[in-house]
Assembly symmetry: C2
């Protein structure tokens, strides 16, 4: 495997985690799910991932219990993929990694900033709301575009939807306009 399963016998929490979310694309699928992406086609359009790989990753994440596959219409049969509570708790490491990246790899400042909806405060790098002092679950967070976000790169529906403030986990709208 590319990045993959069996880091055998590492006896290390990080290695176990990487067996689940360490393969190429997997963490980006999870992040998209956090943004509210739910349908196969939306993942595919947003990530430019080969369909075979996406199919395999979604199946693996369902198998691992991070995503739940749910039928949302019967004719034609269509399923959506939703984060389970276990998957949602990846919010903390995902945010921490994204903020590390924005601090050290982004030339033009952060591409997205996260706000704590109940109090409106922007999250600091630890995802502790500095106003109310509590740890912030993903359900209470809103993403907004940051100064480093380009508008000329991706033009797919999901990218477009994320250029406007968006509540985390809320579904991406079907069509804009």
């Amino acid at each position: 495997m590319a990045l993959g399963k069996n880091y055998d016998g590492q006896d290390c929490a990080l290695a176990s985690a990487l067996e689940v979310i360490g393969e190429r694309w997997t963490l980006l699928v999870i992040r998209d799910a956090m943004y509210g992406v739910r349908r196969f086609g939306d993942f595919q359009a947003h990530l430019d991932i080969p369909r075979a790989v996406l199919s395999q990753r979604l199946a693996a994440l369902v198998e691992a219990g991070l995503l739940e596959r749910r039928r949302y219409q019967d004719a034609p049969p269509r399923d959506e993929y939703l984060l389970t509570p276990v998957g949602r708790e990846l919010w903390q490491p995902v945010l921490a990694l994204g903020q590390w990246s924005d601090r050290h790899l982004a030339a033009n400042g952060p591409r997205r900033v996260f706000h704590h909806v109940p109090c409106g405060t922007r999250l600091d790098p630890l995802s502790v709301c500095c106003t109310c002092g509590r740890s912030v679950p993903i359900e209470e967070v809103e993403v907004r575009p940051g100064p480093g976000l380009g508008t000329d790169t991706r033009q797919d529906q999901v990218s477009l939807a994320l250029r406007t403030p968006h509540r985390m986990l809320a579904p991406i709208p079907d069509k804009i306009g």
Copy 2:
């Protein structure tokens, strides 16, 4: 690449981060460096990683500015790899991911627990010290074995050293006994 470079044009902080630390083994190398592992042979012994891959990963991490290669003796010439400040700041996401793993993937409880050295308190999942309320830099942290840590798996020097409390970033002792 297995898990790799170019997630082109993702315009996403997480994707940029994964271009640097998303390849197979890379994050485990960083975690080992956080534990105080510094020498090629120690990484190799602890991770059971092919030498060619380790060599390439270390070079890439030096290139990316997360590790610094430093000559520590001249005869014979020997270099060690040290985390730069940028690399050290991966502490937050690495800890968050490890704690997610210990919460959801570990059958016997956490394999390692982390304590804030100045006040002795165990770190909660956000790496905010609940006693003093501050964010905790890696320099102030000590690892101790947790209830889920097996003693029968790895027998290399690094694993042995980590079965006893150990200050993060402090070098692994040359030999034990």
